[in-house]
Amino acid sequence: MAAITPAEVRALAHLVDELDYYQLLEVSRGAPTSAVKRAYYAATRRLHPDANRGLAGPDRETLERVARRVSEAYQVLRDGRRRKAYDAQLDTGSGRRMQLAEADAQAEKQALEHHMGRTPNGRRFFNLARADLDRDDLAGAARNLRTALTFEPSNAYFKKKLEEVTAEQRAAAQRR
């Protein structure tokens, strides 16, 4: 395996902060996770400090820094939820790096919004629907979910819930 030269390391060190995670791993924005993994393995074969035993002193520390960034990129891009949060950050132009804790927090937030609604009214009617379900009031739940969907027409989770409720309604009708 071709090891990296000191000059390449230094060039890469300057570049690292200019590249986003996709550019760093040399994959496209839409690349599937398997391609991300392949790219990470390829980068590893070249940049892994173990593969570059000959490198010493400051160059070695620089290589370690690059290697840390590469594995950071992989940690974000290999996880669908983190990756989504990262994409959102890239789209708003607010930085090329993302701390894992932050990616997780953002992903969590997105998931919560996804599950519970991102508008106050969407959330309100979704919660009413859940209360209806607790009382086994399927008709009430369906009504409130439909209302919630008027506020958030694209909320897939609401749609899925509504489908489940209507399916249950049909099953109940058949039993009668």
Binding site: M1, T44, R68, R69, S71, S94, E108
Partner: protein, 601 residues
């Protein structure tokens, strides 16, 4: 002649040394022709030190001067559970050393745990040198994946004392996977189920030809084959007490005989369905009669004795699979490591859990040393790297914050090398310094984690509380070394330290031991007090205060203020405005609740 580096599996019960040359990996037998050497050290009356099976035999007639299972104590604080338990179980004397370290007292001489481990390592070095016919000075030593950094440092120190340059500490399951997949061009997902004498590890790896990527590692450093033996000992002792009214546990010689018999019974049950336990003249009855312990033990009864221990390993497997985002049927193979995995009851339980029989083409006692040898060969000067290990950090790294809590900076199972930054702030007005305490573990309560070290970051501008922003960056290098940097965001001033880990030996002690060894036999002096040289070295008072969980007044950095300045879009969820409907499902609130610690099993 080119350097030659060996791989050493330093086990709780047995150790093994191997060497890799070209594509050939060879386990080096000791002068008795055994491929593994008992990790037992015996100090005989004439001052000589025995290691191996001869020392193991001495457990029976001279238990006070014979040390077994030292790995269970290495790198632990004297107040830890494991050490408390060891005091009850082992016949040798365990005493407190400086900085709450552990010492063993043998014939009025004190030894640190790294020194004891060094004696085993030195034996392995001698075994290798005898077989290879040349000096060996470099090694890769394996450790349980779930070892914390203090335990790792202690193992490294042991290597140094033994006269070895430790090229790398390698996680045991990773080593096993390397030995399994090396040079075979496999593309597989495997689980390594590693039940050793004193520890259990499970690692899930993805092998992509020459890349060995650890997806997740979980473990339990309080669970191993020794615990299986204990169950048998308890059964035998309890029955004996009921029958004869005398307790063999109370007599050190009888206890060692019991341990021996229990271990042999376990080994016998790896081959046979039933075994005969017989200990003649184990004790005298109250009337002075010599008593013999006799009993048959079958696989089935043994299974009921240890069933819950086996199930505990699968809880850990559940956790690892979940961390890797996989289910058992995603795996292409299961590799068994460690002597206890020879037990049919373990093999059957593993087969059932993973839905496939474990691989039988690896030797559970030797595979770890072989993996270490392969890695050692790739690390020596001029060595060719044809295997890349992408390991993870098995335990979360945390920072102590106000309220006795510890905030995660690097989550467990994050691939290394890695670097992560979190921001903290002051909790007192006009505060000029913060103490950065570094912990390792899975609990939100600081005191339930392992303290790795600490340093003070001073010279802050006097400001109202919460207005000074300090970025703390943890970085882990490919060789596992942890660096911590604190940076004042306003002034740009920063302080950086390599965490000086608490191996149980101070730097001075280690130096003096290494120096002394050139002239004579390993011997340690009780260290002079207050030897703390670097900021990050613990002193007694610090540990004391942690013990008392008195962090309220010490904890002077606070998390939850992670807002990057001038960037409103990135308010972390814990800081988000309290939206009742969002939090009604019991979202954790960083500042208020310290009862939701996700304490590791």
């Amino acid at each position: 002649m080119a350097e030659i580096a060996v791989g050493i599996d330093l086990g709780t019960s047995n150790s093994c040394v191997a060497v890799a040359r070209g594509k050939k990996v060879e386990v080096l037998p000791n002068h008795y022709g055994e491929h593994v050497t008992a990790s037992v050290v015996h100090f005989s009356k004439d001052g000589s030190v025995l290691v191996g099976n001869a020392a193991r035999a001495a457990l029976i007639h001279d238990p006070h001067n014979t040390i077994a299972s030292a790995k269970r104590l290495i790198g632990r604080y004297s107040f830890s559970e494991e050490v408390k338990k060891a005091r009850a179980v082992y016949s040798y004397e365990i005493v407190d050393g400086p900085g709450h370290s552990v010492r063993v007292k043998i014939r009025e001489e004190l030894f640190s745990l790294p020194e004891i481990a060094a004696m085993v390592l030195k034996e392995m070095k001698l075994v290798a040198e005898a077989r290879l016919g040349r000096a060996v000075s470099q090694a890769v030593i394996t450790v349980p994946a779930y070892f914390n950094d203090n335990q790792r440092q202690a193992t490294k120190d042991a290597g140094r004392i033994a006269g070895l340059e430790v090229l790398r500490l390698l996680n045991e399951p990773t080593a096993a996977a390397l030995a399994y997949g090396f040079g075979r061009g496999l593309t597989q997902r495997v689980a390594v189920y590693d039940l050793g004498g004193g520890t259990f590890d499970i690692s899930i790896l993805e092998i992509g030809q020459d890349v060995f990527e650890v997806l997740a590692t979980c473990g339990d450093t309080y669970l191993g084959g020794d615990d299986f033996d204990d169950r048998v000992i308890d059964l035998l002792a309890d029955e004996f007490v009921a029958k004869h009214g005398v307790n063999p546990r109370k007599d050190p010689f009888a206890l060692e005989k019991l341990k021996f018999a229990a271990e042999n019974a376990k080994r016998a049950l790896s081959v046979d369905d039933e075994t005969e336990i017989r200990i003649p003249e184990i004790l005298r009855s109250p009337t002075g009669q010599l008593l013999t312990l006799e009993r048959r033990l079958g696989t089935r009864e043994f299974g009921t004795l240890v069933g819950d221990l086996v199930q505990r390993t699968f809880k850990v497997c559940d956790e690892a699979l979940q961390q890797a985002g996989l289910v058992p049927r995603d795996l292409d193979g299961v590799i068994l490591v460690g002597g206890p995995t020879r037990l049919p009851l373990i093999r059957e339980a593993v087969a059932q859990y993973f839905g496939q029989p474990p691989k039988t083409d690896v030797d559970p006692d030797q595979v770890v040393a072989m993996g270490a040898a392969i890695h050692a060969a790739t690390l020596v000067e001029g060595g060719t790297s044809d295997a890349f290990l992408l390991d993870v950090t098995p335990l979360s790294l945390r920072i102590g914050v106000t309220g006795g809590l510890a905030e995660t900076v690097i989550e467990r199972n994050t691939p290394v090398p890695i670097e992560q930054t979190r921001s903290f702030t002051t909790v007192q007005d006009l505060q000029e310094a913060v103490k950065i305490r570094v912990y390792q573990g899975e609990s939100r309560k600081a005191a339930e984690n392992e303290l790795l070290g600490q340093f003070e970051f001073g010279g802050l501008e006097k400001r109202p509380r919460g207005q000074v922003k300090i970025d703390v960056t943890f970085s882990i290098n490919s060789d596992g070394i942890v660096n911590v940097t604190a940076r004042d965001r306003d002034t740009g001033r920063h302080a950086s330290t390599t965490i000086t880990l608490s191996s149980g030996l101070t730097t001075q002690e280690l130096e003096s031991i290494v120096a002394e060894q050139r002239t004579g036999r390993v011997k340690t002096q009780p260290a002079a007090g207050g030897a703390a040289a670097a900021l990050a070295v613990l002193d007694d008072a610090d540990v004391e205060s942690i013990l008392e969980a008195d962090l309220e007044e010490l904890g002077d950095v606070k998390a939850g203020e992670v807002t990057p300045l001038g960037d409103d879009l990135q308010v972390p969820i814990a800081n988000a405005p309290p939206d009742e409907s969002l939090f009604e499902e019991g979202e954790l609130d960083l500042s208020a609740d310290d009862t939701q610690g996700t304490s590791g099993a």
